[in-house]
């Protein structure tokens, strides 16, 4: 029994090209030449057929290979609008456990769709291996081609290449894991009642954004392992004498006891769900498992939340570039191209501030503009570019773009690559909103003195760490009422909104004992304090 197993590489593919292998094919330094020009353009009716999709897909694939796009194998699936709404509602995944909030989402989506307020998703693509892309039945042939280029080659290569996805998600096992999660939750509903499971899931969902490890690489998920281990875990967790229960009052003098009492946890914990899963005194084993499931799912989506601009921009850049190349090579008909471009133009439209349609930066537009500009800087740098990006000017654009896609997240990508030219094109400006001042101040605009400030501000705007309140587990009162203390460290003195109390109720439900939340401002003083005691609510 004393054998030590190295399980760190379990479930990891052996071949270097697959996920988990550290190596990936080196990017091409220049596009490969076209093998031969086609004799005729592809047929271009507005209705698609399976044969046509196959034909277009072959050309798109061949074109993508010329640019060295490295992707998971593709699986294209034709679905109906209703199925698209189904997928929408369950956070884009083909399977998921049952929860009322997904039902709500579905009802809202369906209603908007029926009223015609909303076009349905352009595409849904799942970060899995093989990579599943949904093509909607209603799309025209041109749209199908666009979606294939966008999702099956753009997003797919991003999922496979970007470091966050490589580090945090395991594309080969996510579907398996969700099947496991769905069955487990269903089994729990049967055993413990739908209400009990629903309450638990509600509470977990409230903390979903606080269920991710930000710095530690998570272990792999895989169905077979999960099934085998879930049982062990339950049994083990049950036997495990909980840290919080075990601590008997030591027979020392009272003063001494206070002095000696070790802090628990020893350091503040940022992963609230993990802490609760491991330490909540009253949770039953199945409840811990569900907390774990929610945590794992949150972890899976964490990279997507950090790479909106990069991911969408990358896919948009590539559908644009692939389709244009195909047109230049003589594959695409004028009509198809016009329709694709029209759609593309809609996608990358950025309404200016004050416009009725304005709702913040459009990640498609920003990402597309940035990748396009990187390519331009490589190919035709100006004096300004040579000053700002000396390394990039004149280098191979494929290599530079590949590097930019693989090694950044939104925050660092913008910090690194947002060029003055793009800032000017978007006419970006920064506004400082300080509640101690009576008015807002324009702190930077797209001019020589403002570029750097603007870039920094923009980069911060995409930093999840400052976008979401920083809330951590501070301590547990081991000697007294076993209450849990959470601490919110204010960033720039920004307070929590009033929903915090509601969330705290959920924390208290999971913890089982009183829960406090302190909001600490920049001066280190407690600005506000909430308390929920589950025994009285």
């Amino acid at each position: 029994m004393s054998d030590t197993y190295d399980r760190r590489n379990n479930g990891r593919a052996a071949s270097p090209g697959e996920y988990g292998g550290r190596r990936h094919p080196a990017p091409l330094s220049a596009p490969l030449p076209l093998k031969e020009r086609p004799t005729a353009r592809l047929p271009a009716p507005s209705d698609w057929t399976f044969e046509l999709i196959e034909q277009y897909h072959d050309v798109i694939r061949a074109t993508a290979q010329r640019f060295g796009l490295d992707t998971y194998p593709n699986q294209l699936e034709i679905i109906t609008a209703e199925q698209m709404m189904d997928a929408y509602a369950s956070v884009g995944m083909p399977v998921n456990y049952r929860h009322w909030s997904y039902g709500k989402e579905f009802i809202a989506t369906e209603k908007n769709y029926r009223r015609g307020q909303m076009g349905l998703a352009y595409e849904i693509v799942i970060n899995s291996n093989p990579c599943i892309s949904y093509l909607m039945e209603e799309n025209t042939m041109a749209m199908q081609a666009l979606v294939i280029a966008h999702a099956a080659y753009g997003h797919n290569s991003f999922f496979k290449g970007n470091y966050l996805f490589r580090m945090w998600t395991d594309a080969s096992s996510i579907i398996d894991y969700l099947v496991y999660a769905k069955n487990y939750v269903a089994a729990c509903e049967e055993r413990h009642g739908i209400d009990a499971v629903e309450l638990l899931l509600d509470s977990c969902h409230a903390l979903m954004n606080y269920g991710v490890d930000r710095y530690r690489r998570p272990s792999k998920l895989s169905l077979t392992q999960e099934l085998a281990r879930a049982k062990d875990r339950e049994a083990y967790a049950q036997q495990q004498v909980n840290e919080i229960w075990r601590t008997l009052p030591p027979k020392l003098g009272r003063d001494e006891a206070e002095k000696e009492a070790p802090r628990f946890p020893a350091e503040p914990q940022e992963n609230l769900l993990y802490f609760i899963e491991k330490n909540a005194p009253l949770l039953e084993p199945w409840q811990r498992e569900i907390v774990r499931i929610v945590r794992k799912v949150a972890q899976y989506f964490y990279p997507q939340r950090q790479t909106q601009v990069m991911n969408e921009g990358w896919a948009t850049f590539w559908h644009h570039h692939l389709l244009n190349t195909m047109y230049d090579d003589g594959f695409l008909d004028d009509g198809i191209m016009i329709e694709c471009l029209k759609s593309h133009t809609n996608v990358v439209y950025q309404p200016p501030v004050g416009h009725p349609a304005y709702s913040g930066m459009n990640p498609y537009a920003l990402g597309f503009a940035m990748y396009t500009d990187i390519k331009r800087i490589c190919e035709a740098p100006t004096e300004e570019d040579r000053l700002w990006f000396p390394d990039m000017a004149g280098s191979s654009w494929l290599e530079t773009l590949d590097h930019a896609m693989r090694n950044f997240k939104d925050e660092s990508f913008i910090g690194q690559y947002l060029s003055p030219r793009v800032m000017r094109a978007f006419r970006l400006f920064a506004i400082t909103d300080d509640d101690t001042e009576p008015t807002l101040e324009v702190s930077a605009i797209h001019d020589e003195s403002g570029y750097r400030n603007l870039r920094e501000a923009m980069s911060r705007q995409y930093d999840l760490g400052s976008r979401e309140p920083n809330i951590q587990v501070w301590s547990v009162n081991l000697r007294g009422d076993r209450s849990l203390m959470l601490r919110h460290t204010q960033h720039n003195n920004r307070p929590l909104h009033d929903g915090a109390y509601e969330v705290l109720k959920h924390v208290a439900r999971l913890w089982g004992f009183p829960v406090h939340l302190e909001s600490v401002n920049g001066q280190g003083a407690v600005a506000r304090r909430w308390t929920v005691d589950p025994s009285t609510t």
């Binding site: 196959e54 897909h57 593709n74 699986q75 294209l76 034709i78 679905i79 109906t80 209703e82 199925q83 049952r98 929860h99 009322w100 909030s101 997904y102 039902g103 579905f106 809202a108 209603k111 739908i194 629903e198 969902h205 979903m208 606080y210 501030v353 004050g354 304005y358 930066m361 006419r427 970006l428 400006f429 506004i431 400082t432 909103d433 300080d434 008015t439 807002l440 101040e441 930077a444 605009i445 797209h446 003195s449 403002g450 603007l454 911060r460 705007q461 976008r467 809330i471 919110h488 720039n492 920004r494 307070p495 929590l496 909104h497 009033d498 929903g499 915090a500 509601e502 969330v503 959920h506």
Partner: protein, 425 residues
């Protein structure tokens, strides 16, 4: 590895389980909405969906987020004429001029209701829940009219038990003849030729020719033999189509006491009783007419709206309604053509000497004409009408009475009806 999968036929309604959970969670609001809808609807319109409004705050999912205040810097596109250092008035509501990071507080969104549509099935489910209907009854009620299958020609696909052997074989013979005709013609020609050659004296060249022709003949024979005796394309199946069973006509009489003692709650109870009867009848009859008779000291036939909404005061003479009902039956609904049902709701109040007369009219004139007559009393207290009726109910088969002070007590009235219907089948 590249593949396109057609998923359009698979996995429809994947979200149905999620929808159920959503409905479960908001059961109270939905029940309330259904109750209101039942009050507002006509009996005939009961089996429809309904829009449900739920206040947004009831379905929110809280998460930690930033509130107003503190200092923050937001980047926006589309600068027109700002330069650095410009001061801008704080927009009303205190926001930083946009929902940039999605952390703007919910309070700005207003208290819009979350509206969604309850389907007909879901609506009926909630309605039945209120009435405490047993499951078996629910399914029979929700069921569409019965269908009968009958034959309608032949089709090229079907299940083996519908295989039509004669048709299939006929097709097979035709196909065998058609496919083999060319070969057979050639065969006959060669055989005739062979005959000729054999008749002539055999030189080596001719013998060689005979050999060759014999080989050709053998090849043709085997080709003819290879034509399958029965091919899947020969198979013919008896085609069956479903048609609704033709059903007879029914008329339903709703009798209600509208004297001053019947308040809104009692009327609502009565309405549910009528609705339920109507639903039972829709299961059996294609065409149902409803006659509304209200009465106090006098009875009159009225529209549905007046039936439920107009209020009258005064005493009560129940027999007046029964007399009117009988008159209408005699005038408009000959017994041979119509299945007649009666439903009466009252608070049991009646002018003292009238009750025996009611019993008499029912027993002698009405009950012989109707398939079923149900009486429901919406208060507990027993008065002389109740006593008279309960005596009668003991004796007659097609008369049921019940007291129902709450909606879930209505159903037992129908239990007898179903017993009878079940026995008749």
């Amino acid at each position: 590895m590249q593949q396109i999968i057609d998923r359009r036929l698979a996995g429809k309604n994947k979200s149905i389980g999620n929808r159920e959970r959503f409905l479960r969670r908001h059961k109270e609001q939905i029940r309330e909405a259904v109750r209101r809808a039942v009050e507002g609807r006509g009996i005939r319109d009961i089996a429809q969906g309904e829009d449900i409004h739920i206040p947004k705050r009831d379905i929110s999912e809280p998460v930690f987020g930033h509130g107003q205040g503190g200092s923050r810097e937001m980047v926006h596109p589309g600068n027109r004429d700002f330069v650095r250092g410009d001061r801008i008035e704080r927009p009303k509501g205190g926001g930083g001029g946009g929902a940039g990071s999605g952390n703007a507080s919910d309070s700005g969104e207003g208290e819009d209701d979350f509206v969604f549509h309850l389907t007909k099935e879901e609506f009926m489910q909630v309605f039945f829940d209120d009435l405490a209907l047993p499951n078996l009854i629910r399914t029979t009620l929700a069921e569409t009219p019965e269908y009968k299958t009958h034959r309608a020609g032949f089709s090229s696909d079907g299940t083996p038990n519908n295989l039509h052997v004669v048709r299939s074989m006929r097709g097979a013979i035709g196909r065998r003849i058609a496919l083999g005709s060319e070969s057979r013609r050639e065969l006959h020609r060669l055989e005739a030729l062979l005959e000729d050659l054999r008749a002539q004296p055999g030189t080596p060249a001719r013998l060689h020719e005979i050999e060759q022709i014999e080989a050709d003949i053998a090849a043709l024979r085997s080709r003819i033999d290879r034509i399958p005796y029965l091919d899947p394309i020969d198979l013919r199946y008896r085609s069956r189509v479903r048609t609704p069973v033709p059903t007879a006509k029914a008329v339903m009489f709703c009798l209600m006491d509208v004297s001053g003692s019947m308040d809104e709650a009692r009327k609502d109870l009565a309405k549910r009783f009528f609705i339920l009867l109507y639903l039972f009848l829709t299961r059996h009859y294609e065409k149902i007419e409803i006659v509304f008779i209200r009465h106090h000291t006098q009875a009159q036939e009225v529209s549905e709206h007046d039936f439920f909404h107009a209020t009258e005061t005064g005493g009560t003479v129940v027999s007046s309604a029964l007399v009117l009902m009988e008159d209408i039956i005699q005038a408009r609904y000959p017994r041979g053509e119509w299945n007649i049902y009666g439903a009466q709701a009252s608070d049991g109040d009646n002018w003292h000497d009238d009750s025996p007369r009611c019993r008499e009219i029912l027993e002698q004139k009405i009950l012989p004409l109707v398939r079923y007559f149900a009486y429901i009393q919406v208060v507990e207290q027993e008065q002389n009408l109740w006593h008279e009726y309960s005596d009668l109910a003991m004796e007659s088969e097609n008369f049921a009475i019940r007291k129902a002070a709450e909606v879930d007590q209505i159903y037992p009235v129908f239990r007898d009806l179903f017993k009878k219907e079940g026995a008749a089948k």
